[in-house]
Amino acid sequence: MKTAATRAGAGPDRAPAQAGGPPGQQAPTGPELRPDRLSRQNLAGWLYSTPFLALFLTFMAFPIIATLLMSFTDFGLRNVTHPLDANFVGLDNYTALFDDPKFMKALFNTCYFVVLGVPLTIGSGLVAAVLLNSGIDRFRTFFRVGFYVPVVTAIVAVAVIWRFVLDPSEGLIAGLGSQLGFSTPDFLASKALAMPSLIVMAVWRNMGTAMVLFLAGLQAIPVEVREAAKLDGAGAFQEFRRITVPLLRPTMLYVAVMTTIGFLNVFEEPFVMTDGGPGDSTLTVSLHMYKEGFSFFHMGSASAMAYVLFTIVLAVTLLQFRLLKDKTR
């Protein structure tokens, strides 16, 4: 259908548009490029971009701006049908949030989850990767696949399973405890233990991703470097400390950023396992936002929460880029 001829027909009227800016960066592509070919690429480029951009503008860019606007209004249930009737309230939603002990609690819980969960996930993923990369050849794939399985399963299903594993009467932990003769607490009903339980579960589910990334990073480290270190008399630990860790820095950065973003948005685990309880001890920002927005339809306030969380995500990401930047280059 779409032949080169029809495309070339669209050429001349497009040519002036790209004559201004980009030719400079196109020069290296080759001496063969004539204006009609450039404009042909221009047209193709934009045609190929259109579906993504249309969906992006409608379902991402517009809602991102709309959330910001909503966060300055008293958007409520009646505004779902009449969005433009919401009243402007300035920064009231934001100031109210920081006076609200419940939101501050949610913020604290989310940080607790991230500060403990992210290093544990990275640490266990790194340990698993180093073990798998330490020269064993038997069952390597077997172990790697086994460690990765939780990553592919739905968080909801995993949360349902773990709620049962931690069940005080019929659960796996309680069963092991009774067989080995020690008593186990009711993890999810305890204010002190509920959050650590969720963290353990999240580490269990997400370490596979970190492991696979670290494995790829480890395999990219040249053998010669390791051999040189060994010849110079480095022990296993020294090799790990002085060769592996520094050369894994780019991987570390990527894993840290991705894990942190995921953990800051934690929602399913407390939703299914504790509903934020007991006594708000596992209420996270995302769960609080969901409840405020869709149970009470305080959508203005929920929008403000979404932006506070997003600001934190951005700030933490930038900070990690600073701290973990590849200093070898």
Binding site: P22, S49, P51, F52, T58, V149, V165, F267, E268, V272
Partner: protein, 294 residues
Amino acid sequence: MSATEPRTTRPPKPGRTATSRRPGTTALTYTLLTVGLVVMSAPFLWMAVSAFKTPKDLGASPPVWIPTEWTLANFRELLDLMDIARNFMNSAVVAVVVTGCNLVFCSMLGYALAKLNFAGKKAVLGVVLGALMVPGNLMLLPQFVMMSKMGLLDSYAGLILPFAAGAFGVFLMRQFMMAIPDELLEAARIDGAGEWYIFWRIVLPLVKPALATLSIFVFLGSWNNFLWPLVATNDPDKYTLPVALATFATDPTKAAGSNGVLMAGAFLVVLPVVAVFLVLQRHFTQGIATSGLK
């Protein structure tokens, strides 16, 4: 249950090794890996056996590791309580369409970003990279209002459209397509091939592995997606599997005391995904490594 007897390899010899492989190091490695694997798989094994237990076995005080009597009663009760076949179908339809859309749209833009020169390319790339960072819950509330105004709540379209072209897919395809030599495409252009022909007949066949990887990730992401389907559906007939399972699990009137039925539900949600994963596992790990590190 075998889950309780982890150490099948020899116990490690005390004393750390310094230089290269010694039998002790290898044994220690395998021991640690085996312990890890037991911890990683125990919850799944516990779920799988519990789904087939009778209430008596479930409540037994010294716990029963292997059911004394295997039963399908939990699955039957689950089928009575919810239309799980319907939920399964909803999840499948949404995941298949979302995957198809992503394959087409993401490879189109990925190709343009990797191999075409066009005005505004840098800006488009910036948009894609920015979109990678944005968490879904930042858009949740207006998306709900929009969909409600458009009458798309409780519809497949409402579940599909927000995920029809993901930035992750674009990025992944771009990374793979950058590896295609420019000379190949240039030769095709000199031979008079149109851009669409080049994309469809030359580029796409070259990135089949990438398309496989992308399908797996997008399908899985859609299959496991929870927050948006939770918000966008009200009618139990339109629930996807995770929403149906979570609604059932958090409903205080139904869930109490029937852990076996819940495990049967979790079993049905997890089993197809794990089966597919075990068959296609190589693509998973390759895909992750490529998207992350190139």
